[in-house]
Structures are given as structure tokens and as C-alpha cells.
């Protein structure tokens, strides 16, 4: 499961520092393993401008947070909830992910599918980003 791509993502620590003036900040826990993600976001005109996070968690959670921070910039804010659902469908049902979608990179986590107890680790940063985006837009 720890394929090079996942390990590299985690080690890249992409976006692994907090934003100075976030539009919204969300902290989510996964009580099962004690994972905790704190995620900041800046949005403008329905697009995500910046993401910063701090992860206290496992490598899968770190890799997922790195991927989120790498791929979110410039995407539509309303692409996040579907991206999360797409990732969940990939993990839980082995669903196909179509290639031309901006979030098709979630396929990186395909190998996690067979490890049920780890699904939440991967989903957590997506859920944090989804909530953060919602909050940021509510503020507008």
C-alpha cells in the first residue's frame, strides 16, 4: 500500500504550513487513530486560492493532505465535495475514476481500498477542505 507515490507525497509536505490570513480554518479528528488535521483555506470568486495544513496523523493522512494542497489551488470550490465522494467511492466500492476530471488524482489512493480501517485517514483532509470551503463561502 505504501507505494512510492504515496510515500513521496507524504514526505513532500506540500502545503504543510498554516496560512497567515485564512478565510476559514477547520480541525477534524479521526478518533479511531488519533489523526488530527487542521486546515486553512483562502478562496476568491468561487475558486480555491491557497491551502495550508498541519497534520498530526499517519502517513496516509499526510499524503492525502499534501495531495489536497497540491491539487486544490485554482479549482472550483464546489468541486471539493464531489472529489471527496469520488475518493470514497474509489475506496469503498472500487469505483472507476474518469481521467479528465481535475480530481482524478485521487486514484493515487487506490491501493488503500482493501484496507478498510485506513479509509478515514485518506478522507479526512478532503473532509476538512470541504468544510473549510463551506465556511469561507458562508462568510462572504
Amino acid at each position: 500500500m505504501y507505494q512510492d507515490e504515496i510515500v513521496t507525497l507524504a514526505k513532500s509536505k506540500t502545503g504543510a504550513q498554516r496560512l497567515e490570513n485564512p478565510d476559514a480554518t477547520v480541525t477534524l479528528d479521526n478518533p479511531l487513530c488519533g489523526d488530527r488535521v487542521t486546515l486553512d483555506v483562502n478562496v476568491a470568486d468561487g475558486k480555491i486560492m491557497a491551502v495550508g495544513h498541519r497534520v498530526r496523523g499517519c502517513m496516509l493522512c499526510e499524503a492525502s493532505a499534501s495531495l489536497v494542497a497540491r491539487d486544490a489551488i485554482g479549482t472550483d470550490t464546489d468541486s471539493i465535495a464531489p472529489a471527496r465522494d469520488k475518493l470514497e467511492a474509489l475506496l469503498k466500492k472500487g469505483a472507476e475514476v474518469s481521467g479528465d476530471d481535475p480530481w482524478s488524482t485521487v486514484t493515487t489512493f487506490g491501493p488503500v481500498a482493501e484496507f478498510k480501517s485506513r479509509h478515514e485517514c485518506v478522507l479526512l483532509p478532503f473532509e476538512a477542505l470541504g468544510k473549510a470551503v463551506e465556511q469561507a463561502e458562508d462568510k462572504d
Binding site: 487513530c33 489523526d35 496523523g57 496516509l60
Partner: protein
């Protein structure tokens, strides 16, 4: 007489299996131990030869089932050296045994009465007392831990006051493996007239005990951690204590007479065993006590101690001290429950990679979050050993850790 680990292993069919194409190295014994053929067979034989409800039946199977059930109680009484089998209450596990005490003994407590637990407790010996605190305003106090993961017994006099009614602590920590000096707990508790409850879940898998010599009042443990089926456990208590305590649950088998107005309860132990008990599981537990008593020789103990020592020193040698033992560093006064953290790697990642090597470990808070907070870690990785573990298990653990560290850092 030397100890033949291969002969022992051959009694456990599961130890022959592979996972992810690798031989299984089962080092999660503290969570649940595996079950030997002798116990499986005892349960199955019971189910296909003597299955019936117990205690009230006249027919042959009912008599046979009752006898099997009560003989299992005798087996357990022997295993823990209870003065009388009527002191042995069958429960569904350690957790329900402790909850029984929290309700039954707890019912006699007043607001302001104190119960003392410790920083090392499993949630099963924390949450029942928190719930009791909500119900009846008792005060919950905590014996602190030492940095090597033991109860800090020097603090006993600060924590145990005249208001203390019960000291409830673990015999062996499920995180650090530390073995509690129970006589000091008993001394401190008796000095203020408090009762002592010992959570023996992690102690009994390693051999028979002597509740009378320990001098405690309540002793709780689970079957599934000592090679018996799930769904069975024991609360032992002095007969006079059981006589004095009110029942916990109500139902069949625990009554003398019932009218719609009132109920007169049966004598212990049945007063505390409401409903149809886990009969076949009790039979399995009885068989497990006999099996374990036979296995538990000095040679077998030495075998496990050697593996534990190798594990501890192997961990110290890996990757220039990137591994931190959470618990006693040495092998003195500890059982082979070994927790550690790997610098920069989350316990779940450690466990997952080791799993791909066939090594079953546990990672996380081990139902002991307060202790995790004390050590300021989100969790640990734990390897827990028992008689049937062998050199290959320890080697696989150490090699797997080496590989995990290489891969993930």
C-alpha cells in the same frame, strides 16, 4: 524438561496460516490470544453432546450441561485459588465484571466517597467509574504513573485518603507491561478500610494466580485473552462481599422467588448471573484454565522471557535509537507486553507495514488514552508475546521494523 515451542504451536491451527502470502506472526496477544484445539474441542464437544439450558432442568442434557457449567466454575476457582467456587461469578468479560462492581458496590456509595484508579488503566477501568460518578457523585482520584510506565506507588499516601472506599487498578498494564506491586496497593487501601479491585485482564494469560495470597477483594478478567472463547469473563470476590452486595442485572436464574410485588434473590454466585449464562463459553474457559496451568512451566516462562528480552534489546539496536520504549526498559517486574514509538512514523503506518510482513501488532491508544496523554503520544505500537511465540516471530518483527523505517523515512 525443555520447552518445545513447535509442539505447542501445533495445537493452534491459526498459527499455520499465512497473511498476504507471508507466514503469520501473531504478536497481538494482549488484544486477544489464540485458542488451542483443546479448548475448541471442549466447546464443540459440549455443543454436540450436552447442549441445554442450565440450573433448572430435570432432563439428562440439562443435568449434564449444569454439571459442565459448575465444573468450569471449579476449574476457574482452582486457577485463581479461590476459597470457594461460589466466589466465582461468570460475566461476559472484564468490562462487564468491572461494570458489575461499579453498579453493585457503587450503589452503596455516597457523594464525596472516593474511588482511586490509576493513570495506567484501560478504559474499562475508567469509564465505569466516571459513569458511577455521574450517577452518584463519588470522587474519582488517580494514582499517577512513573516515566517508565508503572504506577507511582510513592504517591499512594497522597491519593488514598480516609474517604477512599475502593482502589481499582490494573495488575499488568496493557500498554507498558508493568506488573503492579499489589501488596503495596492492598496495604495502603486496607489502612483506610478501602476495598481493592484488580483488573487482571493482562495478568491471567501468563498463568495461574492466587487471589487469596494477593489479599484483594475483587479480581476481574476475560476469557478471550487467556485462550478461551469470547463472551466470557470472571469476577471473583470474597463470599461475604458477594453476600452483602445487591445484584446488578435482573432476570432468570438469579432469583429465589419472584412475585409482581417483590423478588428474593438467589445466593451468590447465581445472584449475579442473570439470564442464561454463556454456558459453552464457560466450559471453554474451564478447559483453558486447565490447559494453561499445564503449559505454564518454568521452562515455558523462560522461553517467553527470553523472547521478550530479545525484543527489547533488538528494538534498542534498530536505527540508532529511533525507537522509544514506552514502559519499563528492562525485563524486571514486567510481562512481555512491549509498547514503543518510532520517531517520525505513526503507529498505524508501522502496523500496516508490519502486517504486510505477516506480523500482527496493535497500534494506537490501546484503550488507554489518559496514559497516552501522559506520555504525550497519540499512540504506540505494541508487540505482545505469549508461550506459542517463537524466534521467527521476533525476527520478523525486528526485520519488519527495519524495513518500515527504511521505507517511510
Amino acid at each position: 524438561m525443555s520447552f518445545d515451542v513447535d509442539a505447542l504451536r501445533s495445537q493452534f491451527p491459526i498459527l499455520d496460516r499465512t497473511v498476504h502470502g507471508k507466514p503469520l506472526h501473531y504478536l497481538d496477544n494482549s488484544a486477544t490470544a489464540q485458542i488451542p484445539n483443546a479448548v475448541l474441542d471442549a466447546v464443540e464437544r459440549h455443543e454436540i453432546a450436552h447442549r441445554a439450558n442450565v440450573l433448572r432442568g430435570i432432563h439428562y442434557l440439562a443435568e449434564a450441561a449444569t454439571e459442565a457449567y459448575e465444573n468450569a466454575r471449579l476449574d476457574v476457582a482452582r486457577f485463581i485459588n479461590a476459597a470457594d467456587a461460589s466466589e466465582v461469578v461468570f460475566t461476559s468479560g472484564t468490562t462487564s465484571a468491572i461494570n458489575l462492581v461499579a453498579h453493585s458496590f457503587g450503589q452503596g456509595l455516597k457523594p464525596g466517597d472516593e474511588i482511586v484508579i490509576s493513570m495506567l488503566e484501560h478504559h474499562s477501568n475508567i469509564v465505569p467509574w466516571q459513569l458511577l460518578r455521574q450517577r452518584s457523585g463519588i470522587v474519582l482520584k488517580v494514582i499517577p504513573a512513573t516515566t517508565d510506565g508503572r504506577l507511582d506507588l510513592d504517591k499512594l499516601d497522597d491519593v488514598i485518603t480516609d474517604k477512599c472506599k475502593l482502589v481499582a487498578v490494573t495488575h499488568v498494564s496493557n500498554v507498558t507491561g508493568a506488573d503492579t506491586e499489589i501488596y503495596r496497593i492492598v496495604e495502603a487501601a486496607k489502612a483506610v478500610g478501602a476495598k481493592v479491585l484488580i483488573d487482571g485482564a493482562q495478568r491471567v494469560p501468563h498463568g495461574p494466580i492466587d487471589v487469596q495470597a494477593l489479599g484483594v477483594d475483587f479480581y476481574a478478567f476475560s476469557g478471550h485473552k487467556m485462550y478461551a472463547p469470547n463472551g466470557i469473563g470472571i469476577l471473583w470476590a470474597h463470599r461475604e462481599l458477594l453476600d452483602a452486595l445487591p445484584p446488578f442485572m435482573g432476570g432468570g436464574e438469579m432469583i429465589r422467588t419472584v412475585t409482581l410485588e417483590d423478588t428474593i434473590f438467589a445466593e451468590p454466585p447465581h445472584k449475579f448471573e442473570a439470564g442464561t449464562p454463556p454456558i459453552a463459553q464457560a466450559v471453554g474457559l474451564g478447559a483453558a484454565t486447565r490447559w494453561l496451568t499445564e503449559v505454564d512451566t518454568p521452562e515455558a516462562t523462560l522461553h517467553v522471557a527470553k523472547l521478550a528480552e530479545q525484543t527489547l534489546s533488538g528494538l534498542a539496536d534498530i536505527a540508532d535509537g529511533r525507537i522509544r520504549i514506552i514502559g519499563p526498559q528492562g525485563t524486571q517486574s514486567r510481562l512481555p507486553v512491549i509498547s514503543f514509538t518510532v520517531d517520525g512514523i505513526h503507529p498505524h503506518d508501522v502496523c500496516q507495514i508490519l502486517d504486510s510482513h505477516g506480523v500482527a501488532l496493535r497500534g494506537g491508544h490501546h484503550c488507554a488514552q489518559p496514559l497516552m496523554d501522559f506520555f504525550d503520544v497519540t499512540g504506540t505500537t505494541r508487540a505482545s508475546l505469549t508461550f506459542y511465540n517463537n524466534q521467527a516471530d521476533v525476527d520478523a518483527l525486528l526485520n519488519g521494523l527495519d524495513a518500515a523505517i527504511k521505507k517511510l523515512t
